[in-house]
């Protein structure tokens, strides 16, 4: 009997080592701190290298659209490493949100037009879904799309758009009829420099991931896929996004556990390493349980996502709810184990804590996803 595997293949682990090596070399903490203070929030040189040397941006994009033709699993491995290193780059926005929206749109022309540049890293993409009220579901989509002959224009505001100020291609969810809920939503592509598009970078809790507010004033846009059928695509993209964030969260949580354990072994108080005290041991043990169980949840999501199978909606909400809480727990405990120095700007503990908190809230918080999960399982 074959079947059931809960670990990555040797090739996938090799990919992990390669990405970890690249990020250790090109995006150490000092670089993260430098890049996070820039408006763009990424290093164009490293971004190019990621594309040219490793093909990371196009990893999961099929070869016919200029990508490497790997799967969502390999993407998950890369995201885990990026979460671990707190890489400042529009990777999640471009390689997950934008690429999968196009891939799932069924729009061959659009795929051939946009995916090759996204795959090479020459172009950056993102998805603009939520608006001023910060909802991540269909009812939050109110931006109006109007048709005049063959021309569509968009009017309204999108907010919390990841990398919205640097993206070359913005895939926008809009309403194409006076509808509510999941009906009447369509996806549009708006490109850099479009008339009536105003982009405002936002100050963010998590400085390592940038956000923008976008206003559209009769901005010309291209319909992607079928008019009115956008939500079916976006809901699957949201599931994949939830899993992708969960993979990043696992990487971050594992890293803060390492920080805690390393520190607990060398920090001496009362004449002994603090890691010899049961109180500290148990905090670390709880973090390990959280990390391992979060891996189980995230990898479950990656598997379901790679097959786009029936379990994806369940696995996605499970992974996002669970891994969000696990990461926040670990990032908070890491500060406690470090004591006073844990609260300083100098130690990177706060960078992980802020990423944990922000990604917990992004694309639906744990309460939202647990509610979704209850509904999706139908218990």
């Amino acid at each position: 009997v074959t079947g059931m595997k809960f670990a990555f293949s040797d090739e996938q682990e090799e990919l992990r080592r390669t990405v970890r090596g690249l990020l250790a070399d090109k995006s150490p903490e000092s670089e993260v701190r430098r890049v996070m203070t820039t408006v763009e929030g990424y290093d164009p040189k490293l971004w190019r290298q990621m594309g040219e040397q490793l093909g990371l941006q196009g990893l999961a994009i099929p070869e016919e659209y200029g990508g490497e033709g790997f799967t969502f699993l390999e993407l998950g491995v890369v995201l885990e490493e990026m979460g671990r290193a707190l890489l400042c780059a529009p990777y999640f926005s471009s390689a997950v949100l934008a690429a999968y929206t196009l891939l799932l749109s069924g729009d061959e022309d659009a795929k051939h037009e946009y995916l090759p540049a996204l795959a090479s890293g020459d172009s950056i993409g993102t998805v603009a879904l939520s608006e001023e009220d910060g909802r991540w579901d269909a009812s939050g989509v109110r931006l109006a799309a109007l048709r005049d002959g063959e021309v569509w224009t968009l009017s309204g505001t999108k907010s919390f758009v990841l990398d919205g100020h640097t993206a070359d291609v913005i895939l926008v969810a809009g309403r194409t009829s006076a509808s509510s809920g999941t009906d009447g939503i369509s996806i549009f592509a708006v490109t850099d420099g479009a008339a009536g598009l105003t982009r405002t970078p936002l100050a963010t809790l998590d400085q390592t991931r940038k956000q923008a507010r976008l206003t559209f004033d009769a901005t010309p846009a291209r319909l992607i896929g079928t008019e009115g059928a956008g939500w079916a695509v976006l809901s699957q993209v949201l599931d994949l996004a939830a899993v992708a964030l969960a993979a990043e969260q696992v990487g971050g949580a594992a890293r803060v556990l390492e920080m805690s354990v390393d520190y607990a072994k060398i920090r001496v108080q009362f004449g002994r390493p603090i890691g010899s005290f049961q109180a500290i041991k148990h905090k670390c043990a709880d973090m390990l349980v959280a990390v391992e169980s979060a891996k189980s949840a995230a990898y479950y999501g990656l598997w379901a996502g790679s097959e786009l199978n029936d379990e994806l909606p369940t696995a996605a909400s499970l992974a996002k709810a669970y891994c969000s809480d696990a990461y926040v727990h670990c990032a908070a405990e890491n500060i406690q184990i470090h004591g006073g120095v844990g609260f300083t700007w100098e130690l990177p503990a706060h960078l992980y804590f802020k990423r944990a908190k922000s990604s917990q809230l992004c694309f639906g918080d744990p309460i939202y996803h647990r509610d979704q999960l209850a509904q999706r399982i139908g218990v």
């Binding site: 079947g3 040797d10 390493p273 391992e292 509610d371 209850a374």
Partner: protein
């Protein structure tokens, strides 16, 4: 061969799963317990029936009466049996940990002597490790075994020995070298429970059940041939045995049947937002726990991982007990045979989940010291 992540149970095992579910349900009418059946569902006839079906010693070699099936097949069978409340307790300790221990450390003669009767469901075993002054601290065991010619003479007391009253054999850890360092003087002996000098006293647990016992040994003679593994080498062997005890599916689904029945009872308000949060949390930890167990079953986990699995899964079981009682509300205040009473009993059983087989406190030490390598201080 599949080389990458695959969370789907192979289709070929679905039939086995259905068979095990049907078998468990066919016994449900005359089962005396519905929850925690791996521990307190003691039924010798059921054990023999498991043997006849080839569901004991499933993964063991044929030469000792085993069936050479995969760990995943065994997982599928026991997940179904335990989550449907099948009374497997008379066979479980042997199948779960004593058999595997004998396969790993026993001599060919010992394997030929004891494993076939285990696989037939003909022998019931108990495990003599804990003592009144040695609970989490296994190295402090004081039960002594003294050489007398070819035999050993055992004196001392064991406690929390589940199933001792009806057991045929006790797998005993005793101190054979009183002057050796405390972790090095322990050995393992198989003791015939009908030997003169053994006295078993029942202990009532907080649910009123009496599956666990005190066992007193007063100069009990044990043949030298019954020493398993290396003399003085028990501490390592016990740690290995506890891996089998801690990482299995029995620690996740003890009260799964209660949960299922509560869900079907009409007492769960699925439109209530708080209830939905709880349901989602339970469904999440159930799935995650199952994956953790499977990582161990398929040997895709690091050494010591069973401590992680048990710590996680037993907390899930406690959440299930708590949820069930609150869902039933006032009905769970009554100690009757109905669903309310089962929930009340479930709440009272739940504290034991994080005690037996290693407290969650000691498991956290194991995780910290064996996996994370944090310093030990003596």
């Amino acid at each position: 061969m599949i080389v990458t992540l695959d969370y789907a149970l192979p289709e070929s095992l679905r039939q086995l799963q259905r068979e095990a579910v049907e078998f468990a349900e066919s016994w449900a009418d005359h089962a005396t317990v519905t929850e925690d059946s791996w521990l307190i569902g003691y039924d010798r006839e059921f054990a023999r029936e498991l043997g006849r079906r080839g569901w004991l010693g499933m993964t063991w070699p044929a030469r000792v009466g085993g069936h050479e099936r995969t760990p995943l097949e065994r997982f599928v069978v026991y997940e179904a049996l335990i989550s449907h409340g099948a009374p497997i307790a008379a066979a479980w300790f042997a199948d779960r940990q004593i058999g595997p221990t004998l396969l790993e450390y026993g001599s060919p003669e010992q394997q030929a002597r004891w494993l076939p009767e285990m696989a037939a469901g003909e022998s019931a075993w108990c495990i003599g490790i804990s003592e009144p002054d040695a609970g989490s601290d296994v190295g402090s065991l004081r039960t002594r075994a003294v050489r007398n010619g070819d035999d050993w003479v055992v004196s001392g007391q064991k406690i929390w020995t589940s199933g001792a009253l009806h057991a045929d054999w006790c797998y005993l850890v005793a101190r054979t070298a009183p002057n050796a360092p405390k972790h090095e003087g322990l050995s393992e002996l198989v003791v015939d429970m009908r030997s003169p000098g053994i006295e078993v006293r029942k202990i009532l647990d907080m649910t009123g059940n009496a599956h666990f016992c005190e066992v007193h040994f007063d100069k009990v003679s044990v043949p030298g041939a019954n020493l398993v593994g290396r003399e003085g080498g028990s501490f390592r062997q016990v740690m290995r045995q506890l891996e089998h005890e801690r990482g299995g599916i029995d620690r996740l689904v003890s009260n799964y049947r209660l949960y299922r029945d509560v869900l079907a009872s009409g007492h769960v308000d699925r439109d209530d937002r708080v209830v939905r949060q709880e349901l989602a949390a339970i469904e999440s930890s159930y799935r995650i726990g199952r994956h953790l167990v499977l990582r161990g079953v398929l040997e895709q986990a690091p050494p010591g991982f069973s401590a992680v699995t048990k710590a996680f899964c037993t907390e899930h079981e406690q959440r299930v007990a708590d949820f069930s009682a609150r869902a039933l509300g006032a009905h769970a205040m009554l100690w009757g045979p109905g669903l309310g009473g089962r929930a009340a009993r479930g709440v009272c059983y739940a504290p034991a989940y994080t005690v037996m087989g290693g407290t969650s406190t000691i498991l956290r030490n194991v995780i910290a010291e064996r996996i994370l390598r944090l310093p030990r201080v003596n």
